[in-house]
């Protein structure tokens, strides 16, 4: 019978569920968030309590056995909006742990090393690919089969999240509020605010700012010293836009208009690169009238 572990939706809850699935030898199980559950006939559901020590052990294990890069991947995939992200991640971890732990020789895959030692009867000994040559494999770092269905799905989730991070870098638009605070509203298709916040904090370190993601109810704050993530469930009053802000947005719109070459209009190409779902928060694409009314304070 199919088994589904239920967790509370938090990263720690997810890692605890992974821990339990490994501990109970049910790595083929599914994972689901308790609150957004669609029950299926014949499926067994087992809630998992969130336990920070278990979560920490999984993190340590992934880091030690698979490497820091894999831990970063896991963090990113968990930010995906795909409903199967947790199950995919569990199955990927199962695959990765059983196939390619770091620092161990893995005889099944490192075939070329074996062949060199024992030539088949009647065959000349094969010359092995040397380091740097086509076909060379470091026996200490067995490869990941990126075409295996589980891994391919996992990596495609990872790519989706990374693409969304790139979109955030491109299309987040700040506006200046009274008191020197910069505010941006951005609606990504994955929970990327935690992933882009360090980038903006480093780049714009001389200004305090807020990035607000209404879709995931999350706000990233930076006060010029530290950054914070906070759920944005209640409305918080924000200061009004500065006078300079209006002027600056107008300058930007003017620039945007005048660098367009009218003879080569290609709106489809534009929409391809800059998906329509972002347009409502882009300063340059607001109709002039929107300039006149105050923009902020909805929800947040």
């Amino acid at each position: 019978m199919g088994l589904t572990y239920l967790y509370d939706g938090s990263p720690e809850g997810f890692l605890s569920a992974v821990f339990v699935a490994f501990a109970e030898q049910r790595r083929d199980a599914e994972l689901a968030v308790q609150t957004s559950l669609q029950r299926r006939l014949g499926q067994v559901y087992q809630p998992v309590l969130t336990d920070p020590t278990k979560a920490a052990r999984v993190q340590r294990g992934v880091r030690a056995k698979l490497g820091a890069k894999d831990m970063d991947w896991l963090r990113r995939v968990f930010c995906s909006d795909a409903p199967d992200k947790d199950t995919t991640a569990l199955h990927y971890l199962d695959y990765a742990f059983s196939h390619c732990p770091v620092g161990t020789h893995r005889p099944i895959f490192a075939t070329n090393q074996l062949q060199s030692v024992i030539p088949a009867p009647g065959c000349a000994q094969r010359t092995l690919p040397q380091p740097g040559q086509d076909g060379w494999r470091d026996p200490h770092k067995p490869g990941l089969d990126i075409a295996a269905p589980v891994v391919a799905r996992y990596l495609s989730l990872l790519r989706q999240v990374n693409n969304e991070v790139e979109k955030a870098r491109q299309f987040i638009r700040f506006s200046e509020l009274e008191g020197g605070l910069y505010y941006a509203r951005f609606e990504p298709k994955a929970n990327v605010v935690p992933l882009v916040l360090p980038y903006f904090v480093a780049r714009l370190n001389i200004q305090a700012f807020i990035i607000y993601d209404p879709r995931h109810d999350l706000a990233g704050l930076y006060d010029r010293h530290h950054w914070y993530l906070t759920p944005a469930k209640q409305a918080i009053g924000l200061p009004a836009q500065t006078l300079g802000e209006k002027q600056c947005a107008k300058l930007w719109r003017t620039f945007f208009k005048s660098v367009t070459i009218k003879q080569r209009l290609n709106p489809r190409c534009q929409a391809n690169f800059m998906p329509l779902r972002f347009w409502k928060d882009l300063t340059e694409l607001q109709p002039e009238a929107a300039l006149e009314r105050p923009v902020i304070s909805e929800g947040f």
């Binding site: 799905r153 299309f171 910069y182 300058l251 070459i261 329509l276 300063t283 694409l285």
Partner: protein, 428 residues
């Protein structure tokens, strides 16, 4: 004049400059300074013509002493002229950067009084940005040919990328359309910049970081295509020579747009702007820079123009039909790169995945390899895709029909309905 009007005039004047990229330099953020730069660059917006906006692309001034036939800002044109004050432009750049509108500044200029005077102005603006405002973002600056070497050095230290426009694909055309400029005069600063980059890089007394201080993102150039009779062969050999000898990072092409009526230029009423040709030239350029193609593999003197209907890689594959179909599990990486429709990423993924398993078409799909064009040229485990037969004549017909239908589709379709939510294209 108000800043708004100046910006309108000077960005309109700069819009024909094509090199709007912010790539080629990795500079981490510095506490207390504004900005950072990443190797891949970042496009912040896309104008309705589909071109990306990554830098604040403006001229310092559109006043110009030259009278080049192809240029919108030529001296004899009657249009509003404006000049930025250095501080004004620096502040504007900072204000835009803080709002994440741009990745940095692209600064070019008409020639005001003489090259040295103009360059002095550019350098002053960039110095303000870098030193007074602590700007750590990307700067692309145009060097004005004919200026003194000291100013070029100053510019190279301030900017990430420096470029000199080579303007047209041959010295003869340059002499005809821009009689005040000389080909040797355009190449001279490019040589100087190349040597500057070398010298700085090889200076062993400097730390590794300081060694790449001089124009760390290299230099680039651009030329107008279609205003003069040069063939694609001539253009591509020229750009190959520029990459080889002057070690340029990029050569940009800009399809000639009629901006001035001039007896020396093609008649705007009868000639079409060669957008498609520009696109094919860029594809060929990519093949040379990333895919290991030589110029004479893409184009030769017998067929000096690229096929407009078919991309250069497909053309090459059809001319070398004996080589295909390639077995995806065995072909070397270099050959994988030569399969139409398979790019650097797909080739890399195939290369990596096939070490672990024997690939079939399902596996290719899972890897995210698009088969639209590649399916005609590959086999998996000795078999072509089901229903596919390797016949070069059939393939060529298919590829051409496919290209044609996509082109028609492109023109037939308008923006999807959602756009009307935000007012009917008021930004155009």
């Amino acid at each position: 004049m108000e800043l708004l009007d100046k910006l309108a005039i000077l960005s309109d004047a700069a819009k024909y400059d094509v090199a709007c990229t912010s790539s080629g330099v990795n500079r981490p953020a510095v506490p207390g300074k504004l900005g950072s730069a990443s190797n891949a660059g970042c496009c912040h917006s896309f104008t309705p013509d589909g071109r990306c906006v990554t830098l604040l692309k403006v001229l310092m001034t559109n006043v110009c002493v030259y009278d080049c036939a192809y240029c919108a800002n030529r001296r004899s044109n009657d249009l509003p002229r404006a000049t930025f004050r250095p501080a004004e432009l620096a502040e504007l750049t900072i204000a835009f950067y803080r709002r994440n509108y741009i990745e940095g500044l692209f600064l070019s200029s008409g020639v005001l009084r003489d090259p040295d005077y103009t360059m002095e102005g550019l350098c002053r603006c960039l110095e303000l940005l870098r030193y007074r405002y602590g700007f750590n973002g990307y700067i692309h600056a145009k060097a004005i040919p004919g200026c003194s070497p000291e100013l070029l050095t100053r510019l190279g230290v301030l900017a990430d990328r420096v470029s000199v426009n080579i303007e047209l694909p041959s010295a003869a055309s340059l002499a005809r359309l821009a009689p005040q400029k000389q080909a040797s005069g355009l190449l001279q600063p490019m040589h100087y910049l190349r040597d500057g980059i070398h010298e700085n890089f090889q200076d062993k007394r400097l730390s590794r970081r300081r060694r790449t201080r001089f124009a760390p993102a290299g230099q680039s150039t651009q030329m107008i295509v279609g205003a003069t009779p040069e063939s694609d062969y001539r253009i591509l050999t020229l750009s190959a020579a520029l990459y080889r000898r002057l070690e340029l990072k990029r050569v940009f092409f800009s399809a000639y747009l009629p901006v001035n009526p001039d007896p020396l230029l093609p008649d705007p009423a009868t000639t079409l702007t060669p957008f498609r040709r520009e696109h094919r030239l860029y594809q060929a350029d990519w093949l040379m820079r990333f895919y290991g193609f030589k110029v004479d593999e893409i184009i030769d003197t017998e067929h000096p123009f690229l096929d407009l209907e078919l991309d250069p890689k497909s053309s090459w594959a059809l001319q070398h039909s004996g080589l295909f179909p390639l077995e995806i599990n065995r072909a070397s990486y270099d050959l994988l790169l030569r399969i139409p429709g398979i790019g650097l990423r797909s080739a890399g993924r195939i290369f990596r995945a096939r070490k672990e398993r024997c690939l079939d078409f399902d596996a290719l799909r899972r890897l995210g390899v698009t088969l639209r064009r590649a399916q005609y040229f590959i086999t998996c485990q000795g078999r072509m895709r089901s229903g596919m037969l390797y016949d070069p004549v059939f393939i060529e017909r298919q590829l051409r029909a496919d290209a044609l239908s996509r082109a028609q589709h492109r023109h037939a379709r308008v923006l999807p309905g959602q756009a009307s939510l935000f007012g009917s294209s008021t930004w155009v």
